[in-house]
Amino acid sequence: MTQYVAHGLLRAAHQGRTAERGRCVLHLDMDAYFASVEQRDVPLYRGRPLVVCHTSSDFCRHGVVATASYEARRWGIKAGMSVWEARSRCPHACFVHADIPKYLHNTRLLRRLCERLSPRVEVFSVDELFVDLTPLLRRCRPEERRWEEALRLGRDLKEEIRRKLGLTASVGIGPNKLVAKMASEFQKPDGLTLIIPEQLPGILAPLPVDRLVGVGERMRRHLRAMGVETVGDLARAPREVMEWKFGLVGRLLWEAAHGRDESPVVPGEEEQEVKSFGHSLSLRGGTRDLEYLENTLLGLCDAVTRRMRRQGYLGRTVSLRLRVGYAMGYARSRTLPEYADLTSPVYAAARDLLRREASSGLWTEPVTTVGVSVSQLRRREEGRQITIWECLDSREERLTAVLDALRDRYGEGVVTRASLLGDFALSGMNLAR
């Protein structure tokens, strides 16, 4: 995540330059975000090592660590580590699935809290926000009072978050996004750090160069080869050399080393555009039983199309995701002739893909994960051209409408296919929403 974020920041820094003087930006970084949310919601997890995993396995057997609580971090568990490794480091930790929709919802609440402070709020990632405080502080005189005021706002915001959301955050305040982000990293967790422009050279110069946003392992090696070890070294390097060697990134890094960053705080869209709907299921121990796989796939297609209908989307590209053994994962996809949101066209395509793969000879080991996703979406209200085939048989459409109405009223589990009553229902996937 860090690397992606870093490049995003660099790119943004280049695109939207702002010449505003006397800026003041607040960076809010939630502490062990996913884990804190889970610990807040489930008392059992409090005070214990908790590992939130991105995994498709029911028992968090594989996949990667999304967030480790501070208790778990003491055992050396970090985000991005494989679940297997985390388990071997701390076998008694609690391992839970990441519930992304829950965290996103929480982020929305967080964003609303910040928006009460200033309308210029940028949701930078799921657990990071920038708030532009400049307009709030414009009337503060003299200059020093401004920073004091900013610190007070930061403290209040943290308190508000603790009170309303029951979470802690690290806050950094600085003259721009770059410095604010660095500041928030100085004290964690629950920190509040202010870096004013005058302090910048003193604070920045001794830092190792990889503390700069955008300097990863490779960049660090390149810079070391040039004799650049600290941010101060980088700032002293001639700008032309950096530009010549690394292009645009070089110049932006050089400016970052001086604590310069002109990228504005961009209030983002409320929600990101949905790109696809998908579900997958890990099969314990794996299977080669095609009938079993097809049945699982049918259940997944039911779940995916149900979600599409709930959110008013039609989709056209069906992708089948498979994992064979524990190493080889791959996907195959097919485009449907028409946009669809019913099970049968999606399932027919996914099943065809599955059958073809089953006969491909690629399955040297049992299939351990099967998943289906639908992409190339369009909104239902944009209208859907009906085909002549549909007027022959609209039974599935009518049946689906009735089932959807039932589920809306009595819950997802109220009705299910008889063929899915076995393992599939046990997996709980039929309740996915």
Binding site: P337, E338, E381, G383, R384, Q385, I386, T387, I388, W389, E390, C391, L392
Partner: protein
């Protein structure tokens, strides 16, 4: 081979065979035109393996022979010649094309590589007035699919019966049926799925005034259309054409009658705003409504004869325009029953054309 031809004659023949010349370079020989002398004429042939065209043009032949040269180059040279007459002579593997002041040497292609397709002999239709057939093809081909993934839908179903010849096509959003009821003599009944694009090309090369025949080969894989001037053979599309009758609504209970040109113009204008058009049909009036979040909104009203209950139904503007403009009468009937049920477009008087159009769910 040595012969003299009139420029206009050979140019007309070259244009006639152009639709079977393949532009793809997988097999270079398919970009060629085969020229051979036969009984005082010059016979030209081309094929892209799917279709093939033969035609001949009058020539004064001094020396018999045959060769294959690149069609495009020969056509361009011929078109730009200023002379009325051209001498064409083959020497070795060079074809020399000469006018009074110009002289071109074209390298020939290996004649043995030129594919020869089997003869097509079994007559299906002995004669058919080209004008009415071409007209039917032009109308029906609009509704044929362009999606290569479903090959049968890229074709036109041609049902040859003793009393009528039906042409049907559908791209699954609309279905067009055209019935030719006179001007033909059928030898054998049958149903054929033929590529719509090939039939359109056939309509282009036929002279409306002539009468054409249709034959099939024994294995049923290809059909040939032709007249004295040319012959054009097409490979049929394999597969089953959907049973189209089931899609055509039987009754016309809820039909609205409207003046064709007026409605076509209204639809055209409304479609500037959006490709999805809503038809609001009320007693005595049809309103064509187009709305777009980005552009704006348009409304067009057309007087109509209608006494049913008011109904609103949405269609794709192009499908609607294709359907209405294909009606060969001044007044059009549009039958709509429910917002999600198929609509039917036909002329008020005759039953020769029917167009089923599927609505858009909004």
């Amino acid at each position: 081979m040595k012969l003299i031809v009139l420029k206009d004659d050979i140019l007309r023949s070259l244009h006639m065979v152009q639709y079977s010349v393949s532009s793809r370079s997988v097999m270079p020989i398919l970009s060629g035109v085969k020229m051979e002398t036969r009984e005082g004429t010059l016979r030209l042939s081309s094929t892209d393996l799917e279709t093939s065209t033969h035609t001949s043009c009058p020539a004064s032949v001094d020396e018999e022979g045959e060769c294959v040269v690149n069609h495009k180059i020969l056509t361009e040279i011929t078109r730009d010649m200023t002379d009325e007459k051209m001498t064409i002579q083959l020497s070795g593997n060079e074809l020399v094309v000469e006018g009074e002041r110009s002289r071109f040497k074209l390298y020939t292609m290996p004649i043995d590589d030129f594919p020869s397709l089997s003869e097509i002999n079994t007559p299906v239709v002995e004669e058919l007035v080209a004008k009415s057939f071409s007209h039917a093809v032009q109308i029906v081909s609009k509704a044929a699919s362009k999606d290569e993934k479903r090959p049968t839908l890229t074709g036109i179903l041609m049902e040859v019966g003793k009393k009528e010849i039906k042409l049907v096509s559908t791209d699954s959003y609309r279905l067009a049926v055209y019935i030719v009821t006179n001007g033909f003599k059928v030898n054998e009944e049958g149903a054929f799925i033929l590529p719509a694009a090939a039939l359109v090309n056939l309509a282009r090369i036929t002279d409306p005034e002539e009468r054409i025949y249709m034959k099939r080969d024994e294995s049923g894989g290809r059909v040939e259309f032709g007249s004295e001037a040319f012959s054009y053979s097409v490979r049929m599309i394999e597969g089953k054409f959907p049973r189209y009758e089931q899609f055509i609504p039987e009754s016309l209970e809820n039909a609205v009658e409207v003046e064709k040109e007026e409605l076509v113009r209204a639809v055209k204008r409304a479609s500037i705003v959006s490709t999805t058009l809503k038809l609001e049909i009320k007693e005595g009036i049809i309103t064509v409504v187009s709305e777009s979040k980005e552009v704006g909104e348009g409304r067009e009203s057309v007087g109509a004869i209608y006494d049913g209950s008011p109904i609103t139904i949405a269609f794709n503007s192009k499908f609607l325009e294709d359907g209405i403009s294909s009606v060969g009468e001044e007044r059009v009937l549009i039958n709509v029953t429910e917002p999600l049920k198929p609509g039917l477009i036909k002329g008020r008087e005759k039953g020769d054309f029917q167009y089923v159009i599927m609505p858009i769910r909004i």
